[in-house]
Structure formats: C-alpha cells, structure tokens
Amino acid sequence: MNCEYVDQLLPLYIGRDLEAERSALVAAHLQSCPQCARAAGEYEGVNGLLQEFEPPLFSDAIYRGIRRQVLNEIERTSQAPAWSSMLSRLFGPLVQPRAIAITAAVLLATLIAASYFVIQRSQPSREQVAEGRRAVELNANSSNAGVQSNPQPSSSPSDRSSEKASSRPGVVGSKRLPRRETSVVAVAQRRELRSRTPVARVETSANVFQTPSAPAPLRVEMQTSDPKIRIIWLSDRSQTGAKDASKG
C-alpha cells in the first residue's frame, strides 16, 4: 500500500468510514510512514475543528415565535373552505415562477404564429406578384413587336374601334371597360386566359393584338396590390397611324 493510495483513503479512515480490511492496512502503513501519519493527524484536527461548527445561541423567544407561526398557519389552513384548498392544490403549481414563465412563453409564441398567418393571408401571394412583374417585363420587351387590342389581323370596323380603344389608357379587368364588342371580347379572353396561366395569357394577348403592318404601341401592365386589379397602359406610338388604321 503506497502513500498515494493511503492519502486517498485517509479522509474515510479518520472518520471510521473505511471497511475493516482496508482500515487495518492503512493503520499498518501509518505506523511506518511519518509523512502519512502527519497527514492523518491533520485530518484528525479537521475532524475536531468540525465540532466547532455550531450556530449562535437562539433564544427561547425565537423558538416560541416559530411554534406560534406554525400553529397559526395550521389553524388557518384547517379553517379554509374546502373549495379554497382544492383550488390551491389544483392551481398551486401554476403559481410557481417557472410555470408562469413557461405559460407566458407559449402564449407569446402562439400570438406570433397567429399574427404571421393573418398577415400572410392578407397580402397577395407571391405567384400573383411574380405574375405581375413578368407581365410588365414581357410587355416591355414585346412593345416593338406591336400589340393591339384587335384580336384579328384583318381590318374591320370592329378592329378599328378596338384600335381606338387601345390608344387610350384605361383600366382593363375592372368594371370600367370600353363599350366595344371587340374590346369586351378581348377582355373576356384575357380574363379566361388569366385564370389559367399568367405566361400563356401574356403570350396569347401579344399574339392576338399583333399586326405585322401597324406600328407597335407601347403597352405597360402594372399589377396592383389587389390581385383583381391590373393597370394596362396602351399608348400608340403614332396617333396618325392609328387613325388611318381605324378608317381603313
């Protein structure tokens, strides 16, 4: 048994917490090792020092006060109504600070999630916003190819009237529509196409209104925050050309 091992066992040996066999071995080692014997003496001193760990003297008045408080509390709780004690048993744990903090955190998280969903539903979807941006971009790119509101390339009175309608800026897709049959048909077609895919609608409208001979009007589409409302600006590059086309 070496000194290092004995040093580990000394705290238990001094307090008589070591089993008999190992205690005898430690005792034998201490007989022959002055250093370990000195360490054992220091532990004995600590054990004696521990007996000095006494609280101050508490007066009888303190003890009487404690007893009085306890007996008063027992009497108070015994006189409490049955429903009061039942409520305190049921909701007592909830009054603990930790339970209150957890409950508050859960309520806050629920409130944040609910607010998020409400805001998401009130805003237009990303698809609708993207559709509007694509429409603006495509129409800006296809402005040179020529876009007219006339669905048919051949000149006809209905075509001429819809060309006139296309020269004026207006709101398409809302209740304020030009009273032209061809324009109404075009709008109906656009509505039908819009309900399908935005890309197809844009392409179709571009093909419908395109005429090889007429100069391409400037067409700008703007999607408002309301998905049902879209602003389409049609500006004829040449007012004289449009008038000739309508006459002719």
Binding site: P11, E42, G45, Y63, R64, I66, R67, V70
Partner: protein
C-alpha cells in the same frame, strides 16, 4: 392550546448514542409514538410537544445548511408545517429524526434554489454590536482559549461555506449528527458509495481550505 413546554414530561432519545427506531421498547420511544398518534388524531398540544423536542435540532441543521438566522427560522417553520402535513405518511418502524432530517434537507434545498449564494453570517467576538458574544467573552475565565475557539469557529464556518450543498449535508449528518453512512444515504435518497465519496471529498476540501487559510496568516496549526 398550550404554548409552554411541560418540562420533563417527555424524554426523547436526542443524544447521538441513543438515537433508535421508534419501535424500540423504551419509554422515550413509546412516548414519541404516543405523541405522533395523538397528533394524528388532532391533538395540537401533542404536536407542539413534538416541535419542542425537535426544534433545536432542526434549527441547528437549517442554520448550518443556509448560513443565516433569518433563513434558518423560515426553513424551520416550513419543516414543521410539512411534518404536520405528512405525519400520516411517517412509518412507525423508521427513525423519526432521520425522517425529520430528510424533510429538513428538502426544505433547505428548496430555499437554496431561491437564493443562489450561500451567505454565512457568523458571530465573531470582536465584531461590533454582538452583545451576547461580548458578554460571554467577558465572563470567560480563559480569554485566550475563548478567542482561539472563536477563530476556529470562524475558520470552519468559512470552510463549510465553500462546500457544495450535498457534500455539506453529508458531512453534517455523518460527523455532527452521528448518522451511519447507510442512514445518511437513506436520508439523502442516495447510495452509500455516493455518500462516502461526498464525505471524503468534503473532508479533503475542508483540510485544504484550512491549510491555505492558515498559510496566508502565517499559522500552521489548526
């Protein structure tokens, strides 16, 4: 409801060597058993007797665990409220004081969680305003011996304040209250191996603290 103890009426086994289970055939334990039965039947005088004969032990334990008188008083009140509440669950074949210390440690643990720091306020003879200490000092024939004891007390109080709660409880129950290691393990709801380890660690830390403390002050003897 009586508020003063009837001295000598009930004699409990409060000495370290006489701590025995309740069912031992002695007058003291029989008296304790009778008091418990009476208290369970609603006799508040009997419960008060139980408090009178165990309050000093509880108060000492709470002060040693919590370190100051105010917390010790609050903890002692809470201990006896729990004793009254759970007296019906006390098993007649177990040691009443072991059961009492179990409740005491649980209460002290709960209070320690509320307070993060273990603040120890010790009574020093040379501290100002301690009339009781000064009076005791003046009446002591051996002033030097008293001063040495006061210094030792200060040293051990500081050393105990550095221990973790479980190690402090283990060493208090073993070295100051005299419980066997197995009893300490039952009180602390632990195992004997763990308790031995905690006791060994506590003694080492106290020794190391005392050596450093004395070395700083140029002393070598505890």
């Amino acid at each position: 409801m009586s508020t003063e103890a009837t001295s000598g009426a009930y004699d409990f086994a409060v000495a370290r060597e006489e701590r025995l289970p309740v069912n031992a055939l002695t007058q003291q334990q029989t008296s304790l058993a009778l008091l418990i039965e009476s208290a369970l039947a609603g006799d508040m005088a009997a419960f008060e007797q139980i408090m009178i004969h165990s309050e000093q032990k509880v108060m000492r334990m709470t002060w040693r665990m919590l370190g100051n008188e105010a917390d010790a008083r609050d903890a002692t009140q809470e201990v006896f409220l729990r004793v009254y509440k759970y007296l019906g669950q006390f098993k007649r074949d177990q040691d009443f004081f072991a059961w009492l210390y179990q409740i005491t440690l649980n209460v002290c643990r709960s209070m320690s969680k509320k307070r993060r720091n273990y603040s120890v306020q010790f009574t020093s003879i040379d501290a100002g305003g301690n009339e009781e200490g000064l009076e005791m000092f003046a009446q002591t024939p051996d002033v030097e011996e008293t001063l040495i004891r006061a210094q030792k007390r200060e040293l051990i109080v500081r050393a105990m304040a550095t221990l973790p709660e479980k190690e402090r409880a283990a060493i208090l129950l073993r070295d100051l209250e005299g419980f066997e290691t197995d009893e300490v393990a039952r009180i602390m709801s632990s195992t004997s191996t763990t308790v031995r380890s905690q006791i060994s660690s506590a003694r080492k830390k106290i020794k190391l603290y005392c050596e450093r403390y004395l070395k700083k002050r140029g002393a070598t003897v505890i």
